[in-house]
Symmetry: C2
Subunit: 185 residues, 2 copies
DNA sequence: GTGAACATGTAACAAGTTACATGATTGA
DNA sequence: TCAATCATGTAACTTGTTACATGTTCAC
């Protein structure tokens, strides 16, 4: 369905008008963050392009000093484009995890470092869960947002639980490695 | 930690020697598939490059008709490079889901299509779970593989369970949309 | 006075995908 | 006979990131 930065911006702007800066913030702080990424370097060009194509309209708000806000709003043509993208079959999920890659080859890692990495990842997942739970109250009141939020919460809780439950086993694996080291540094 | 296709190939070749073709198959059929992707267009150049750099060694096995197998093996220098990559802090997970994006904007989708997409995704997750459970028996006997397999299984089971449990609610949301359509096609 | 948040934008770069090019064998 | 599996490789293309460029205000 071509879920690129363009479609992402259209989706956000279908909820309310916003500046590129605000879109970036929503992407990294809102529910989106769980399954989407986007940098300024991709958002700004996408907005400019879609404005030229008539999918967006622009209103500028001057500010003292700061470079005046460029507030984009979606047009009818933009809504049509979004509807079309939304009507396509979604591509397969893409998940890349360097953490899991490292865990897969844990027997080739220095045991001390391994545990540091493990705990850091666990904390990260906990923080992510906390964030997603926090943004729940300010959730837009439509079923999609609730569904995605609930899904993300469920998955993160499971991950955190798994990592907690398996921590002791990790420690004992490491203890075994210390006796029979394969690649301790 | 620069977990690119190079590191992926080094990791696989640290388990056993293989051809580019075999690496691709392992990536799409083994435990790797859950958190990694790689195409021929990235694997073959990576192998050639690392051979030139001395991280890999090459043995060719002629075959009748077919273009003789190029069997790569990791060298000491290659193992060192892998160890170095494994010693770096892993980058944050990257997860992209067009399905969740569509669910987020479900109120702008044709209800019938929405349910087709939902069921297709559910089936896909079930298939993925079945695959990961199947490859369990032929798992290399080291703790990393078991950990990653268990993690993947746990997450996929949770996803499948969630999707099953929320299917009825989806149906009622759709029923509500049919009465009060916002963007039915 | 130093760093963070606000605010926009460009250009070089990185990394990987898709499509193309080639060609035998095997099973439906 | 048509698709799939085996087997390698290249080149164009897509997509997005990082770093740079610029400048204010506000809190510590």
């Amino acid at each position: 369905m071509a879920m690129n930065v363009r479609t992402l911006c259209l989706g956000i702007l279908s909820l309310k008008e916003a500046t590129g800066y605000e879109i970036k913030k929503m992407v990294e702080e809102g529910i989106f963050s769980h399954f989407i990424d986007a940098s300024f370097g991709s958002i700004y060009p996408a907005l400019g392009q879609m404005l030229r194509e008539g999918l967006l309209s622009l209103r500028t708000e001057e500010q003292d000093g700061k470079p005046g806000k460029k507030i984009y709003a979606i047009t009818d043509k933009g809504r049509a484009a979004l509807a079309q993208a939304l009507d396509t079959d979604p591509a397969k999920d893409k998940f890349k995890s360097e953490f899991l890659f490292q865990m897969l080859f844990m027997n080739q890692i220095d045991p001390r470092h391994l545990m540091v990495v493990y705990d850091a990842y666990l904390e990260e997942q906990e923080a992510e869960l906390a964030r997603i739970e926090a943004c729940e109250c300010e959730l837009p009141d439509h079923p999609g947002a609730r569904f995605v939020n609930a899904y993300g919460k469920t998955m993160l809780r499971t991950a955190v639980k798994f990592l907690h439950e398996n921590r002791d086993e990790m420690l004992s694996i490491i203890a075994a490695m210390d006796n029979e080291p394969e690649a301790a540094s």
